[in-house]
Amino acid sequence: MRRDKRGEDEVVVDRVACTAHGVCSVVSNGAIELDEFGYPVPSRLTMGRRDARELVAQCPARALLIARDR
């Protein structure tokens, strides 16, 4: 597994855990859009490693995960 500080990570939404707080949309500056019920539209999103960490930490429902390397 690669674990350099720079580079990119893929953030995935755990749909069962997500409870539509909408924090991911705010923290990602709107990169993650919400549907009419308040749930994030994309199920996965690639972004800088640090941003990914920050986004994951901010989810109140812990519904964002860093995708496992395959």
Partner: protein, 360 residues
């Protein structure tokens, strides 16, 4: 020759609808020492083939299961005749609540491990094991449809060449098809990919065909005239954007209103959500209520855009493929029966007017 290689030669794919190569699943299962769940739930609406396999080929089915794993569980809907037959044969039965999503692969694995029969969100295939949301450890578990297991036993007995003698090069092997709806002789038929759909429709005695639904809620629709001309295979149905899937064929007669039918199924689907993923637990009921209003002739035409937008928001946003299936099913229906939909938007469906008159 190993069973994996034999199944690979035969080209057997999952008969539960997903069409995944069984040899690949088995290979990984053997590596992890996975348990086997034989899925005999007939979870898709309009499908009765698992019940037939259990009723008429139980010995061969058991033989197939023994080839695949040492520990086998038999999943069947609680209270069904299939459950009773399996129990009478002394098999270890996993009673499954009679719910649409309860017989989905990961839902069965969850149930087997003492959880609820609801799909599990996963990053890796559920067959490799893992953990559920409650932190329960899940053993590696191979889930195969009952017809698939029966085919394994047939391939082991008769060989890959025999199997490939049926179907097409891309979709080999015999397949069971469940015919239902407006037909004289509903039931399960022996068939194979590549046969004309006309043969299936005639065998079951379909008349006055307005449309044909394929593969229940996970499939889609054909107009009557297309159905008579189409070839029964994934390749043959690809132009209509639908798969053969679970092998269910539902004939909608001329006297049935397809919009009404879509609304009924969508309302049923709304009640079948496992209530785990937001896009499903709110999106499917929202779609259903719009369809109900369309069926009642009170949906404003401009709301069709919302309806299509909502359908587009369902796929790929759940722990399982249930919302994807509902989306495809409804979108295909709206496309196939666009003339009837337009009539409803104008308040002109004959059946609808009759119904309104009856309730007045």
């Amino acid at each position: 020759m190993s069973l994996v290689a034999l199944l690979d030669d035969a080209g057997l794919t999952g008969r539960g609808g997903a069409r995944f190569p069984t040899s690949i699943k088995l290979k990984s299962a053997l590596e992890t020492g996975a348990d086997l769940i034989v899925n005999a739930c007939d979870g898709e609406i309009g499908v009765h083939k698992d019940a037939l396999v259990v009723a008429e080929h139980l010995d061969a089915l058991q033989h197939g299961a023994d080839l695949l794993a040492r520990r086998v569980q038999w999943a069947a809907h609680r209270g069904s005749a299939t459950e009773r037959r399996l129990r009478n044969a002394g098999l270890r039965v996993l009673p499954v609540p009679s719910r649409y999503v309860a017989s989905e692969e990961s839902a069965l694995v969850s149930l087997l491990h003492g959880g609820r029969a609801r799909p599990i969100m996963r990053q890796a295939p559920i067959s490799t094991g893992g953990k559920d949301a409650q932190g329960r450890r899940l053993r590696p578990t191979l889930v195969l449809n009952a017809e698939t297991v029966w085919r394994v036993s047939q391939i082991e007995r008769h060989g890959a060449a025999w199997f490939r003698g049926y179907g097409t090069a891309e979709e080999p092997g015999p397949r069971l098809v469940t015919m239902g709806g407006n037909v004289d002789r509903p039931g399960v038929y022996d068939s194979e990919a590549g046969v004309p759909m006309r043969d299936l429709l005639e065998a079951a005695g379909a008349v006055d065909v307005r449309g044909v639904g394929i593969s229940g809620m996970s499939g889609g629709w054909l107009r009557g005239r297309d159905a008579w001309a189409a070839t029964w295979s994934d390749a043959g149905l690809a132009p209509y954007g639908i798969p053969t899937g679970t092998g269910a064929v539902h004939v909608l007669g001329r006297s049935a209103c397809p919009v009404d039918h879509l609304a009924q199924i969508a309302t049923f689907a709304a009640g079948e959500s496992a209530g785990q993923c937001g896009p499903c637990m709110f999106g499917v009921p929202a779609v259903a209520s719009q369809l109900e209003r369309l069926a009642d002739g009170v949906l404003p035409a401009e709301e069709m855009l919302d309806l299509h937008h909502r359908l587009g928001m369902l796929p790929g946003r759940g722990a399982c493929r249930f919302p994807d299936g509902v989306s495809r099913f409804v979108a295909s229906g709206l496309r196939t029966f666009s003339a009837e939909v337009d009539a409803h938007l104008a308040g002109e469906c004959v059946l609808m007017q009759e119904r309104a008159g009856a309730t007045r």
